[in-house]
Symmetry: C2
Subunit: 227 residues, 2 copies
């Protein structure tokens, strides 16, 4: 059986003039966040140095960072791979995400202006189109953008950081779920969130966020327990 190889054409989308280790980190980070790596897939240092055309030191640094993020796991025998989640992991993540992200949206609700809400609604509109088109990659990106944008208004960098880590953990698994069941089965509570934001009802925003999270994570949970 042949697993997906690290693509040789990772052009390391250079964002201006950032150090190489940062570019490698960002590249891998979005691959994981958007499920371009399969859970369980091994990630090798040499494979990355070859495919990215950079030295090993920056690759090592990026990998250590991602391990600390929970985006990659160290397998004991110096092997690194994309995490495989079990149902206990998912339960913990449901709890943590609801705790942290509800608070983030509660705080954001207090700071959002009308045109900020319009912007969020715009993202959600595009998101609906992705779902209709069955574009899994686009769905994952826009869903993440919706939440990230919302949370950014909370001005809570530490909570944000905790939330980001959790997203990195389930990114690959969410992709697998979408790939198996399609995008049709992906309902969300974004409309509820937007309505509550317009009404200035922070508690309802938090509640809708919690429901959105629970729905999405429960999907992963079911997919895993049936595997």
């Amino acid at each position: 059986m042949d697993l997906i190889k690290n693509k040789a054409s990772l052009s390391l989308a250079d964002g201006g003039k950032q150090p190489v280790h940062e570019q490698v980190y960002q590249t891998l980070r979005s691959q994981i966040l958007f499920g371009e790596l399969v859970p369980g897939q091994p990630v090798t240092i040499q494979g990355l140095t070859d495919s990215l055309g950079v030295g090993m030191t920056p690759v090592r640094e990026a990998i250590r960072r991602l391990i600390s993020d929970g985006a990659l796991v160290f397998q004991g025998n110096r092997r690194v791979s994309v995490p495989l989640l079990n149902s206990g992991d998912i339960q913990q993540m449901i709890f943590a995400r609801i705790s942290i992200e509800s608070e983030l949206s509660r705080r954001a609700a207090a700071n959002l202006q009308a045109d900020d809400i319009d912007h969020l609604e715009g993202i959600d509109k595009n998101l609906d189109r992705m779902i209709a088109d069955g574009d899994v990659g686009g769905y994952l990106r826009l869903n993440q953008a919706f939440h990230e944008t919302l949370y950014s208004y909370a001005n809570a960098p530490i909570l944000n950081d905790l939330a980001e880590r959790l997203w990195l953990r389930f990114g690959p698994s969410l992709r697998v779920v979408c790939g198996r069941f399609g995008t049709q089965s992906l309902p969300d509570r974004h409309k509820d969130i937007i309505t509550a934001l317009r009404n200035g009802n922070a508690e309802k925003v938090a509640k809708a966020t919690a429901q959105d999270i629970e729905q999405g994570m429960e999907l992963i949970s079911e997919a895993i327990s049936s595997a």
Copy 2:
């Protein structure tokens, strides 16, 4: 003004046969966790390679990991230092710690046996002695051990991981508080936690944990806003 230099005698307490980058990580990690580094203090790669007598690659890996942990911060211009917290950071950490760690102790309560509770009580007894002796380092270590031990029974690695990160963030600041006000002003709710554990009352365990956290963090918060 001269900040504390990285000690040259960091003997890298070798735990068996771990790779150097892991040893460096663990060494720095406990220095930060137990406040042996001062908030704001710069941390240089070269300084560590010199004082630890190892190459730069493993040092770089350890530092990247600690940055991802939130235990160190990247200052933009290639500088790395120990984080300085503001009151907003503390508020976020109070919320996150109470959410996560209450749940950890709630889960642990269900799994603890009688002799496990004895063990916890033993740690707390030693902790009291440290407070009486004014031994700040000992206090920090045993307080951490008390919580870590309790949480370890929760069998919740992901929640545990989130909690650990938060501890790394406030370690240096807590040390400063203790150094300024002494250990006398450090009350805790450990007795309440142990009593509730013996009664098998998980909710009360969670509540006492939340109070313990709030008390401790509020201390840091006051110290910061008065600075």
